[in-house]
């Protein structure tokens, strides 16, 4: 009920010049404590993973640096040479867990963000094309989307990875194949709505070529929900990659991601060496939660019906 009341009263306010939309949205985003927390966490995690080399005493992927005698040490113990402490303990191969987590985060974030970016580009272009072209092209693309979305993702991921073999590249490819469909469907919905709007008719009347209308006019206006999906898809991709690694597909054994670390430590859970699975697990959890907090806030600020 208050929607029309608020609008009619605030109409005249719009005549005043306002800051750019981007800055307004930015201010809006950070006005929520949860969003700030989520964003800060992500920033810290990203920082940690990018600068892992300088932050960690050990490169866990360099087999030369590992000392098998140091395996399964409790958190806080010193290493064999006494040069540094394993603050979070070591795993079954003698890797310092703190180092392994940071390096593993790097893989998880690369895979998550990388696949999200590629999938979003592919999916969005296909979705907008589908909406603009209509007819058979639209039917074909959308039925493919339906197909992709009707299979359980883990199943398909397992099949593809079993065929392709291990490696980060293969993991990203698999995730892209799984994810593009979400973007395509959402982009198509948005594009269909935008296509009806009068500024598109105006562009046609001004003889602006079709491809340019699609890319320069319709596409930018479809972005808000896609940004939201993108953020949440990163979380989903990371989880999926962790699952694959846990199952033994995905990243190679010598360069473990968080998922593989958790998998490796699983066998030691019952014998009391909880830290080998727990700490990577917590790291994974924090990452996903941070991404979700940010994604939720983005969804809120891009919601046109929201009361401000």
């Amino acid at each position: 009920m208050s929607q029309p009341v608020t609008e009619s009263a605030v109409q005249a306010v719009i005549a005043a010049p306002r800051p750019s939309l981007f800055r307004e949205r930015l201010a809006d985003f950070f006005s929520s404590k949860r969003a700030v927390i989520g964003f800060t966490l992500l920033l810290l995690l990203a920082f940690g993973s990018v600068f892992a080399h300088w932050l960690t005493p050990q490169n866990p992927y360099d087999l030369m640096q590992l000392d098998i005698l140091d395996s399964r040490l409790a958190p806080g113990s010193a290493n064999g040479a006494g040069t540094y402490n394993y603050w979070l303990g070591t795993d079954g191969q003698g890797r310092d867990l703190l180092s392994a987590i940071l390096y593993g985060l790097r893989i998880s974030l690369t895979v998550g963000v990388g696949s999200a970016i590629i999938a979003s580009v592919v999916g969005t272009v296909l979705g907008v094309l589908s909406a603009y072209a209509g007819g058979r092209v639209d039917s074909f693309i959308m039925r493919t989307v339906d197909l992709m979305l009707s299979f359980p993702s883990i199943l398909i991921a397992m099949m593809i990875l079993a065929y392709l073999g291990k490696g980060i590249g293969n993991v990203i490819l698999t995730l892209v194949i799984l994810e593009w469909a979400y973007y395509a469907r959402t982009a198509r919905g948005q594009a269909l709505a935008e296509r009806q709007k009068e500024y598109v008719e105006a562009a046609k009347s001004l003889n602006i070529p079709q491809w340019r209308i699609m890319l320069r006019h319709i596409l930018p206006n479809c972005l808000p929900p896609l940004i939201v999906i993108g953020t949440l898809q990163v979380a989903r991709a990371i989880t999926l990659e962790a699952t694959m690694s846990f199952l033994g597909l995905g990243v190679p054994v010598t360069e473990p991601s968080l998922g593989l670390l958790i998998a490796n430590g699983y066998q030691y859970m019952l014998s009391g060496q909880y830290w080998i699975s727990l700490f990577p697990g917590v790291a994974l959890l924090v990452t996903i939660v941070a991404l979700n907090l940010v994604g939720d806030r983005l969804r809120e600020i891009f919601n046109p019906r929201r009361q401000r």
């Binding site: 009920m1 208050s2 029309p4 009341v5 608020t6 009619s8 009263a9 605030v10 109409q11 005249a12 306010v13 005549a15 005043a16 009361q307 401000r308």
Partner: protein, 330 residues
């Protein structure tokens, strides 16, 4: 024969607390309505006319708030009434009609369900009697084959028909007062005429008082007894329809009347009001219309009061008077 007017609004203030600042959408509005009279409330966007209507109905939600004034309905102050009593009044003694009939109608319920529910919410009658009353009211609204319409869903009806159903619902309980917020603005001329005709007849028949909120002077000219013109949250001119339209005193009223194409010479540039609609966030301390007014002087930097010029004809202006020279700036 009661001498207390049906509705008395005294110095109503409804403000909106937005992030950008406080918007004084309604800023000191007073009006009075006798039983059976029709009041036209005229203004453009941002004038506060709709918010006034919503305030009287008690439909203003956050971030809006009624921050001052009194709304006396039959002597009772609506602003200090407990929720339960308000609910008994709303829909029953005071009804509202909106520009979009879908604000009244629930799209997933049939018309008869909605009408019967409305009746039974306020009166103890049987479903059958309620159905018959609903059918009769639809007939009075000029709807052919009302029985068929009763079993329809809103989306099966045309825009004009929907609005008629919404108005029928508003009239079902024979309210004392109806507040109509631009109900015919979105309708075609021929349909608008029919609806205006029905409302006129029914309000005469039941003695219903009507507040007709609109931006369209021509519509209100044929319908109303009294006319109030609003600008930037305040009433700037008030009087009977004849007084305000035949002898407008406020430059804004004059500007509005003069800018109507019908009041201009064919082929000549239309007389227009210079400037833009006011920004409610940064209103000047004095008269809000001053920046657009050709009669402005230094005294206009203080807020003029609503003064009575002739019996019942009030104007908020330091320089009221007959037709000024309006700019034809382009």
């Amino acid at each position: 024969m009661s001498t207390t007017p049906l509705l008395q609004v005294r110095d109503l203030r409804t403000h909106f607390m937005t992030r950008a600042g406080q918007v004084p959408a309604v800023d000191g509005v007073s009006l009075q309505l006798e039983s059976g009279r029709i009041l036209g409330l005229v203004g453009e966007s941002g004038s506060g006319k709709s918010v006034t209507g919503f305030s009287i109905m008690g439909l203003v939600d956050e971030p809006g708030r009624i921050v001052g004034g009194q709304i006396l309905f039959k002597g009772q102050d609506l602003l200090h009434l407990p929720q339960q009593q308000l609910r008994r009044l709303r829909g029953n003694r005071i009804s509202m009609i909106f520009q979009d009939p879908m604000m009244t109608l629930n799209p997933v319920l049939r018309v008869d369900t909605q009408m019967i529910e409305t009746l039974r919410a306020h009166e103890k009658i049987s479903r059958k009697d309620a159905w018959e009353q609903s059918r009769d009211m639809l007939g009075l609204m000029g709807i052919p084959s009302p029985e068929a319409r009763l079993s329809a869903y809103p989306h099966q009806l045309s825009g004009g028909m929907r609005q008629r159903v919404a108005i029928a619902i508003a009239l079902l309980l024979r309210p004392d007062l109806i507040i109509a917020d631009e109900p015919t603005t979105a309708l075609d001329v021929t349909i608008q005429s029919q609806i205006l005709s029905e409302i006129q007849k029914l309000s005469a028949r039941y003695g219903t008082a009507l507040i007709w909120i609109t931006h369209d002077l021509s519509v209100v000219a044929g319908l109303a007894d009294d006319l109030h013109v609003m600008y930037a949250g305040k009433i700037v001119e008030a009087g009977t329809v004849d007084q305000v339209l035949d002898n407008p005193q406020h430059p804004y009223t004059q500007g509005l009347i003069q800018s109507l194409p019908a009041n201009n010479v064919r082929g000549q540039p239309l007389r227009q009001i210079a400037g833009m609609t006011p920004n409610l966030l940064s209103l000047p301390a004095g008269c809000a219309f001053a920046s657009r007014c050709p009669r402005r002087t230094a005294v206009c930097d203080t807020m003029p009061e609503l003064d009575e010029l002739a019996a019942g004809h009030r104007v908020r202006c330091y320089h009221p008077g007959a037709v000024p020279e309006m700019e034809v700036a382009l």
